[in-house]
Symmetry: C2
C-alpha cells in the first residue's frame, strides 16, 4: 500500500474523521473563497438560467460513487454543471417574484447554525436556541411597533417558521380547532376561510391541507377602483350569505403587500367585520412587513392591534437567509393546543415545570434549526437605523424606475407604487386603422381584441427579457390585465442595475414595437 492509499485509508477509518477540525478549516476556507468569487462574478451570469429541461441528467453519473471524491473535483462540477443551471436570485439584476434576501450576516448566521448543528424542538434540547428566538422575536416585534399583546411580555409570543405557508397553516389549524371545539368536530365541512382574489395561494393551500372543504375558500373579488385591496363591504355580505347558508366563518387572511401588486388590505376595517363573527384574523405581510419597521410605512399595518396573528418573511426583504418567517400570535395557547403532542420520549422536567417555551408545539414539524442566530446576526451587524435606510434605498430605486417608465409614453404604470415594486406594461395605442375600420366590430369589441393583443405583447416582452438573461422580472394578471412586476429588493441592486434593466426593457420593447 502506498502512502496516498494509506492516507485515504486513515481518513475514512472512522466517522469521527468526518469532523476533523483541520480538514474542516481547509475545506471550509475553500468554500468561503468559492462563494466570495461567486459574488465577485455574479453580475456576469445570465440572471435566469438558460438551460433546457433535463440538462443535468447527461452530465452526472446514474449512481452514487462507490469511492470518495476530493472536494476540488466537486467544486469544479459545481462551477461547470450547477452554476449554469441556477437562476441567480442574488444577482443585482434580479427583480422577479419577491427576492430571497441575504447578506453577509444572514449567511454567517446560517453557517453558524449549520456548524453548531443543534436541534431546538424543546427548550431542554438547546436552551439558547429557544431563548434567543423568543428574545429576537420581541426585538423585532418592537421594531414593528406591534402591540405588547403580541410579545412574550404581554402573554403573546413570536416564533420563527420556515415559510409563510407553514406559518399560515399553523394559524389556520389553531383557528380551526378553536372553532371546532365550540361547534363540534363533525362540523369541519362547514368551516369557511376568507381572503381576496389577491390573497397568496398558500392560504387556499393551507386551508385545503387543514381539511377545509375546497368549496369553502372565498376569494373575494377586488378591483382597480380600490387598488385591488379587499373590499370591506363585500367581506361582510359574503360572511352573511355563508351564515345564511348554514356555514361557519372562522378565518380571514388580510394581506399587507399582495404578491401581484403589493396592494394593502384595510386591516383595521376588516377586523371590525371579523370580530362581529368571531373570525380569526391573520395578517400576511410576507414581503411588505419589513418596510413597516420604518415609521413612515408603519401605518400600513394600522389595526394590527385587533388581529390574532401576524407574519412576515425576514428572508424576503430583511437580509436574512431563507428560511426565516416571523410569526406572532396573541394567544399562543390556541397554537399550542392545536399543535402540541407529548409522547413519553420527549417528556422532561423543564417542560413539565411550564417555565419554558417548547417551540415544537408552535409548528408543523418536530425538529428545528437554530434559526434565531441569523436574525440576531443581521440585527446586530447592521443595526436598526441602517436596516431602515437599506429598505428606504430600495424604495427610492423603485421610485426611480417608476419615473423612467413614466417618461416613456409607450408604457403604462398599471397601479400606483406603494413599496419597492412597480407594476407596468407596454401599452401601444389602438391602431387608427382599426378604430375607423368598417368591418362592423363595435368599439367595445375592438378594445377587447386590443387588450388581448396587449397582454400577448407584454407576455412576449417579458419572455424576451428573461431569455436574454439581462434581467429577471416576472408577471401577474390584474383584472384581466397582464402586468410586468419589477421588484427592487435584491441586496446587490444599485441604481446602475435599475438603469440597465430599464434599458433592457426598452431594448426588447423596441424589437417588438418598432
Amino acid at each position: 500500500m502506498n502512502s496516498i492509499q494509506n492516507d485515504i485509508q486513515e481518513k475514512f477509518a472512522s466517522p469521527s474523521n468526518l469532523l476533523d477540525p483541520e480538514e474542516f478549516k481547509r475545506q471550509g476556507h475553500m468554500i468561503i473563497d468559492f462563494l466570495a468569487d461567486y459574488y465577485k462574478n455574479i453580475h456576469k451570469y445570465p440572471v435566469r438560467s438558460q438551460v433546457k429541461p433535463g440538462y443535468l441528467k447527461n452530465r452526472l453519473p446514474e449512481s452514487a460513487p462507490n469511492d470518495a471524491e476530493p472536494i476540488e473535483s466537486i467544486l469544479k462540477d459545481i462551477q461547470n454543471d450547477i452554476i449554469p443551471g441556477l437562476t441567480h436570485w442574488q444577482s443585482p439584476r434580479y427583480f422577479a417574484y419577491f427576492p430571497f434576501s441575504t447578506s453577509i450576516a444572514g449567511f454567517l448566521g446560517e453557517m453558524l447554525s449549520a456548524g453548531l448543528c443543534v436541534n431546538a424542538f424543546s427548550w431542554i434540547t438547546s436552551p439558547a436556541a429557544t431563548e434567543l428566538e423568543s428574545i429576537v422575536m420581541n426585538w423585532l416585534g418592537k421594531m414593528l411597533s406591534l402591540p405588547e399583546s403580541f410579545l412574550f411580555s404581554g402573554n403573546g409570543g413570536g416564533v420563527l417558521q420556515g415559510t409563510a405557508s407553514e406559518a399560515i397553516l399553523c394559524t389556520i389549524i389553531a383557528a380551526r380547532d378553536r372553532m371546532l371545539n365550540k361547534i363540534g368536530r363533525a362540523n369541519i365541512c362547514k368551516l369557511v376561510v376568507y381572503g381576496s382574489d389577491q390573497t397568496h395561494s398558500c392560504v387556499q393551500k393551507g386551508a385545503h391541507i387543514a381539511g377545509i372543504h375546497p368549496k369553502n375558500f372565498r376569494a373575494i373579488a377586488t378591483s382597480k377602483s380600490n387598488a385591488f385591496s379587499l373590499p370591506v363591504e363585500s367581506l361582510r355580505s359574503t360572511i352573511l350569505a355563508d351564515i345564511e347558508a348554514g356555514l361557519v366563518p372562522f378565518f380571514l387572511c388580510a394581506t399587507v403587500g399582495t404578491t401581484t401588486s403589493t396592494a394593502v388590505d384595510p386591516v383595521g376595517l376588516l377586523c371590525h367585520v371579523a370580530k362581529d363573527y368571531n373570525i380569526w384574523v391573520h395578517v400576511d405581510a410576507a414581503y411588505a412587513g419589513s418596510a413597516c419597521i420604518c415609521p413612515e410605512f408603519r401605518h400600513f399595518i394600522d389595526g394590527v392591534e385587533n388581529v390574532d396573528s401576524f407574519s412576515f418573511n425576514a428572508h424576503k426583504w430583511l437580509f436574512t437567509n431563507f428560511d426565516c418567517c416571523c410569526l406572532w400570535v396573541r394567544d399562543p395557547s390556541a397554537l399550542i393546543k392545536a399543535l402540541s403532542i407529548s409522547p413519553e420520549y420527549l417528556k422532561n422536567k423543564e417542560t413539565e415545570s411550564k417555565q419554558v417555551v417548547d417551540y415544537k408545539d408552535w409548528q408543523i414539524g418536530l425538529s428545528r434549526r437554530f434559526r434565531a442566530l441569523k436574525l440576531w446576526l443581521v440585527l446586530r451587524s447592521y443595526g436598526v437605523a441602517n436596516i431602515r435606510n437599506f429598505l428606504r434605498s430600495h424604495v427610492r430605486l423603485a421610485k426611480h424606475f417608476e419615473g423612467l417608465v413614466a417618461k416613456d409614453k409607450r408604457f403604462e404604470i398599471v397601479v400606483p407604487r406603494t413599496f419597492s415594486m412597480v407594476c407596468f406594461r407596454l401599452l401601444p395605442p389602438i391602431p387608427l386603422v382599426e378604430m375607423t375600420s368598417d368591418v362592423g366590430d363595435s368599439r367595445d369589441q375592438i378594445v377587447t381584441i386590443h387588450e388581448a393583443r396587449v397582454n400577448e405583447l407584454n407576455m412576449k416582452l417579458l419572455e424576451s427579457i428573461n431569455d436574454s438573461g439581462e434581467a429577471s422580472l416576472t408577471h401577474g394578471v390584474l383584472g384581466g390585465v397582464y402586468i410586468i412586476r419589477f421588484v427592487v429588493a435584491a441586496t446587490l441592486t444599485e441604481e446602475r442595475h435599475v438603469n440597465m434593466a430599464w434599458k433592457a426593457v426598452q431594448g426588447h420593447a423596441d424589437a417588438l414595437v418598432p
Copy 2:
C-alpha cells in the same frame, strides 16, 4: 468626521455592501475558524446544557441595537452567552434521542446552499436545484435497493423535505384526498389512520393537521412478546371493527426503527392486510433507513415494493445536515393533485410543457432551499462504500456497549438490539426482606411496587447522568417499563467515548445503588 466614521458611513451607504466579496471572505474565514475551534473543544463542554430557564434574558438587551456592531463582539457573545446554552448534539458523548447528523461535507453543502441562496420552488426558478434533487434521490433510492417504481425512471419519484413530520403529513394529505375523491368530501370525519403505540407522534399530529377526527387515530397495542412491532392480526381486526362501525380506513404508517426501541414493523405482512382495504401504506424509517443501504440490513425494509411511500432522514444518520428528509412516492400524481396550486404569478412555459418537476407541488410550503447540494456532497465526498462502513462502525460500537451492560449484573438489556441503539435499565433484585415480609401484600403487589421503584430509580439515574454533563442519554417507556436509550450515531463518537459513557452510567448507578 474622522476616518473610522467615514469607513462606517461608506460601509452602510448601500445594501449592496452587505455582500461585499472581500468582507464576505474576511468574516466567512473568521466563522470557519470559530467553528473549527468549536469542534476542537466540543469534548470539553457538558453535553446537555446546564443553564436554567430564563438564563439568556438577563444577558441580552431588551431591544435590537440602533447601530451596527462588529462581528468580533458578536462572536464573543456567542462564545460566552450562546455556547453554554447549547446541548451539544455533535458532542462525541451525545447518545440521546436520535442524532442530528453532520459532517464536513454536509456542512459545506449547507454553506453552499446558503451562499448561492436560490429559491427552488419551480424548475424555472433554478433548474439545477430541481434536477440535482431528482438525480440524488434516484442515487439514494438505488443505494436502498428501492423498487424501480419509486424512482423517476419508474414513474415514481423522490423529494427532499424538511422533517419526517412534513413528509408524512404530505402523504396523509395525498392519501386523504385520494380517498375523499372517491367517497366524497363530506366524509372526512369517517377517515381512520393506523399505526402502533410505538408509531412516532408526528403521524398522529399529521393526521390531526389534515383534519382527521382525533378519535380516528388507531395506536394498535404492541407488546414485548413480538418486540414491540405492529401485530398484523390486530391491525386486521381493528380495520374490520372500524369498517363495521361505518368508518373508512385510509392510511397506515409502518415503522422501521421505532423511536423508543428501534422496533421493526413487518412491512410486507402489513401491506397484505392494507391492500385488502385500499389503504395507503407509508414506511417511516426516519432513523434506521440509513442502515438499510448496507446489504446486511436491507431485509428490514423487505416488502417496501408494496408500499405507497417511504421516508427516512438523511439528517439523522447519514451525515447530512438538518433538514434533509428523503421521501419517495410510487404515485407522484397523488401528491401533486393534493398539494399543487397554480396562481397566475407562478405560471411559466416550462411548467406548462409538463417536461419538468416543480417541487412546490410535492410539499407543504412554497419556497424551498437547494437541499440536494448537501446530500450530493456527502455521497460524493465519502462514497457509498465508506458510508456503509461508518454506519457499521456505529452498530459495532452499540454492540460493544451492549456487551458492557450485559457484563454488569445490576443492569438489564430490555429489548434485543437491532441497529445502533441499546435499551437498558438498572434492575436491582427485589429486596429479600420484602419477598419474605408478612405485611400481607401478595407477590404480584410486591412486584408491581418494585417495578414502580425501579422506574423511579432509572429516572433518577438518567437525570443524574444528564445533570453531570458527562454524557447525554434519553428515555422511553416500553410496556410500563422505564428504559434508558443509548444511541450511537453521532459522527464524532469513538470507542473511548462509549467507554466513558458507560463509566459514567456505572458511576451514577453506584451512587444510587451502593
